[in-house]
């Protein structure tokens, strides 16, 4: 199976491990990732209001490129996934946005939402299958209590993202089970870490991140996994009251599949 792959700005820089282990694990699973040529930043955050047109154009361009390649569009970063998937839904449901975006972009062919946007974890579930994945695990996380941190962007709004039940998700727990670990269910797994507010009000980001980590710790977690570089930053740098290790889910995946090289450190070290 071949996907058009959209890494996004942060996976090329501060979250290289999220990207490297995603690529390496895909290769081990027989999934071919073709990086979109000259992709542009998604904007980092979905513009919630309906009259913002320009801020969604780069996403439409990316979606149109995947359509041209005839592939589904694969994302790893939660924020990219949220922006791209919601912009795609807007192109389908909002005729005014569709009209303006297409007029502005002047693509070879009008883009009408043909591309399917797939998150890496959805690909693991639907294209590989968690049962098949389990068979390929060589280093299971036996006895490890792992807390999945969904955050906001993979899940909400549920009617558009359709990633999982937005209030009681289970897909990341299923992934943890496939990797041989024991998932930890905790109340703050889908509550906000503070996001970009760390630049505006650091104490608010610290408060939020500490709440998430305290919640995971209280339920006995040995570690937390995330798909989002900004959640990673907040939990590690602003979660000042706790020292629970935080890993990208791709790092655990690569480790379990035996494609993480000996001595390779963690992002939060």
């Amino acid at each position: 199976m071949t996907y058009s792959y959209y890494p996004g700005c942060t996976l090329r820089t501060k979250a290289k491990k999220l990207d490297t282990y995603a690529r390496r694990s895909a290769e081990a699973l027989g999934i071919n990732l073709e990086e979109i040529e000259q992709w542009q930043c998604c904007g980092g955050v979905y513009p919630s209001v309906s009259d913002e047109i320009a801020t969604r154009l780069s996403s439409v361009r990316t979606l149109a490129q995947a359509k041209k390649a005839g592939n589904e569009l694969l994302t790893v970063c939660s924020a990219c996934h949220n922006v791209l998937k919601r912009t795609n839904a807007d192109i389908i449901s909002d005729a005014d946005f569709n009209f303006r975006a297409n007029n502005y972009l002047e693509l070879d062919e009008r883009y009408n939402g043909e591309t399917k946007v797939v998150h890496y974890i959805e690909m693991l579930r639907d294209a590989v299958g968690f049962d098949e994945l389990k068979k390929k695990v060589v280093n299971p996380f036996k006895g490890k209590k792992i807390a999945a941190y969904y955050g906001c962007l993979l899940l909400r709004p549920g009617n558009v993202m359709q990633f999982d039940d937005p209030e009681n998700p289970s897909i990341m727990e299923d992934l943890i089970r496939a990797l041989g670990g024991e998932p930890v269910i905790y109340p703050f797994r889908n509550e906000c870490c503070g996001g970009y507010i760390t630049l505006e009000d650091k104490s608010l980001a610290q408060k939020r991140s500490n709440k998430v980590l305290a919640s995971a710790q209280e339920k006995g977690a040995d570690m937390v996994i995330t798909a989002c570089p900004l959640c990673m930053y907040n939990l590690v740098k602003n979660g000042t009251e706790h020292d629970l290790p935080v890993y990208y889910f791709t790092e655990l995946l690569a480790d379990a599949l035996g494609v993480k090289q000996e001595g390779e450190g963690q992002d939060n070290e």
């Binding site: 513009p47 919630s48 209001v49 009259d51 906001c152 906000c192 996001g195 970009y196 570089p229 930053y233």
Partner: protein, 128 residues
């Protein structure tokens, strides 16, 4: 603009309808920035409805929203108050010279681990 025009403009920008609100308070109950806000999400809804936009434009509350979409997801009437907070913020920062965040502010806020995603998002939220 008078209050009525301000209200209509916020409704136009946001694309949402505050008059559908049934005042259940779920938005404020679930808001992770509730304590930091002078005006809470449910108050944004009723104040926009009344055209009482000026105090919102002057309040720091519009910069406290985390865009976590909790109020958007959990609103039983699809009013989605986060969109109103966003619309008021945009009404302010779309004015000339009203950027809340400048590139010059950045160097002292950035550390070695801060992801680009945070910088891009902050510029999207606080500047035009």
């Amino acid at each position: 603009m008078n209050n009525e025009q301000l209200r209509d403009e916020i409704i136009r920008i946001s694309g949402t309808n505050p008059s559908k609100c049934m005042k259940c308070g779920k938005c404020s109950g679930t808001c992770p920035a509730y304590e930091e806000m002078e005006y809470h999400p449910h108050q944004f809804v009723s104040m926009v409805q009344k055209g009482d936009i000026e105090p919102l434009l002057e309040s720091k509350s519009i910069f406290k929203c985390l865009t976590c979409f909790a109020c958007v997801e959990r609103c039983p009437r699809s009013v989605e108050p986060g969109k109103l907070v966003e619309a008021v913020r945009l009404m302010l920062i779309r004015q000339k010279g009203a950027n809340h965040f400048d590139a010059e502010d950045l160097p002292c806020l950035v550390d070695d681990d801060l992801p680009q995603q945070a910088v891009v998002s902050a510029f999207r939220k606080y500047s035009k």
